[in-house]
């Protein structure tokens, strides 16, 4: 199997089979918080995907050339979170300069990308997986796209739900969680599609 085919399979596997939110349970906070409107969800998803792709690449570099080379495994969490916080800061400044409208609509959610478990979770999986530099970057990209897919789907459903008649006690968080559960069940159907 050529390396390119492997990368393509890795990408699809990460988006569907091992979807970060619905299968791996990473990134739940923003999933519940940002998924109220499709537009915001798309913006958030793309910003997160950008950060995740860069995180995939950066963590591989740090892990290989610093943590492993100098035998400092105990600095893993500290160094990864510093990288992520810096990347988010950088992305924030980038968006502020290039699209002030997007910056305003994302508001508080941009700096919150730092606390998105999905990103740190992604970083932590990189040393465990043994993918190459390119593989890790593709893994990050796939993770981001999978994340975006899940929150956009959820946003679409919740927008429709605004017009529906949700029983009082279920309004808000409970019905969102139940929908998430059903989505997770649907994604279980992808299992076994690709072995990565």
């Amino acid at each position: 199997m050529s390396e390119f085919t492997q990368l393509v399979l890795l990408f699809f596997g990460t988006v569907f089979v091992n979807n970060f939110i619905l299968v791996r349970f990473l990134g739940i906070c923003p999933f519940l918080g940002v998924s109220k409107q499709v537009e915001t969800a798309v913006g958030m998803g793309l910003a997160t995907t950008f950060v995740m792709t860069l995180t995939g690449a950066a963590t591989w570099l740090i892990n290989t050339y610093i943590l492993e080379a100098l035998n400092l495994p105990f600095l893993q969490y500290v160094s990864f979170i510093i990288v992520i916080a810096s990347l988010v800061q950088f992305v924030e400044m980038f968006i502020k300069k290039t699209s002030p409208v997007l910056y305003k609509s994302l508001g508080i959610f941009l700096p919150l990308i730092t606390t998105n478990c999905a990103i740190l979770g992604l970083a932590l999986l990189i040393p465990l997986n043994g993918y190459s530099f390119i593989g890790s970057t593709v893994f990050g990209f796939g993770a981001g796209i999978g994340f975006t897919l899940a929150i956009v789907l959820m946003a679409g459903l919740r927008e429709k739900l605004e017009f529906g008649d949700v029983p009082g006690v279920l309004k808000g968080v409970p019905v969102t969680l139940i929908i998430a559960g059903i989505m997770a069940m649907a994604f279980m159907g992808f299992s076994g599609l690709i072995t990565i």
Partner: protein, 208 residues
């Protein structure tokens, strides 16, 4: 510095119910859904998170005047990451099987919005003794919520509690309960029940 006992008790009780992190504030969700498949895991995660929460709230409260406003979030995160690394290595050394079941989610305590949130909303603005009370209450609140969620999931998903078989052979376990889908649905139903009980709904879903 005066110590007001009544205030301390109220700080402590807050996290147990009124502002229960999982059922009311809806923060710290990632580990909540992932490690509540068994009660042992739920308890371990609750205790580990509580330890990190208490230690970091104490440290942040002690040095709050030394941290410039603009770098406070990165500073809090660094402090939290240090305590999490400590817990991770401690578990790996002395409780390896628990470390293995919690795996990825121990380091994810670093980005648990609950811990970061409490530094920002409480520890950075209150004296040490109050921060300790707050952290203790939030930690216990978080832990009992995890235990409740994992009790439901383990009992219906595997027929056991804390690994002890409760339901006999007649019971066919609903495996979905130990899978992600079951976690989402169970938590949704539990929060709905809490809404009935407390009459003012949990609405806030922003990670703060």
């Amino acid at each position: 510095m005066s110590v007001n006992a009544k205030q301390l008790i109220s700080d402590f009780k807050n996290g147990l119910w009124q502002e229960n992190p999982i059922f009311r504030l809806v923060i710290g969700m990632c580990p909540t859904l992932a490690v509540t498949n068994t009660m042992v895991n739920g308890l371990a995660m609750g205790l580990a998170t509580s330890f990190v929460l208490i230690s970091s709230e104490i440290v942040v409260s002690l040095i709050k005047k030394l941290i410039p406003g603009d770098v406070r979030i990165p500073s809090y995160i660094l402090i939290i990451a240090t305590f999490v690394t400590f817990v991770d290595y401690f578990l790996k050394a002395f409780y390896p099987s628990i470390a293995a079941s919690l795996s990825l989610f121990v380091p994810l305590i670093v980005v648990n919005c609950l811990i970061l949130g409490r530094q920002e909303t409480f520890a950075s603005q209150n004296p040490v003794h109050r921060s300790f009370a707050d952290a203790l209450g939030m930690g216990i609140g978080f832990t009992w919520a995890l235990l409740l969620l994992s009790a439901v999931r383990e009992l219906f998903g595997m027929g056991s509690m804390f690994g002890l078989q409760i339901l006999g052979d007649w019971y066919r376990p609903m495996v979905i309960m130990v899978l992600p889908a079951g976690a989402f649905i169970t938590l949704g139903i539990l929060i709905a029940i809490m809404n009935v009980v407390s009459k003012n709904a949990t609405n806030d879903t922003t990670c703060h």
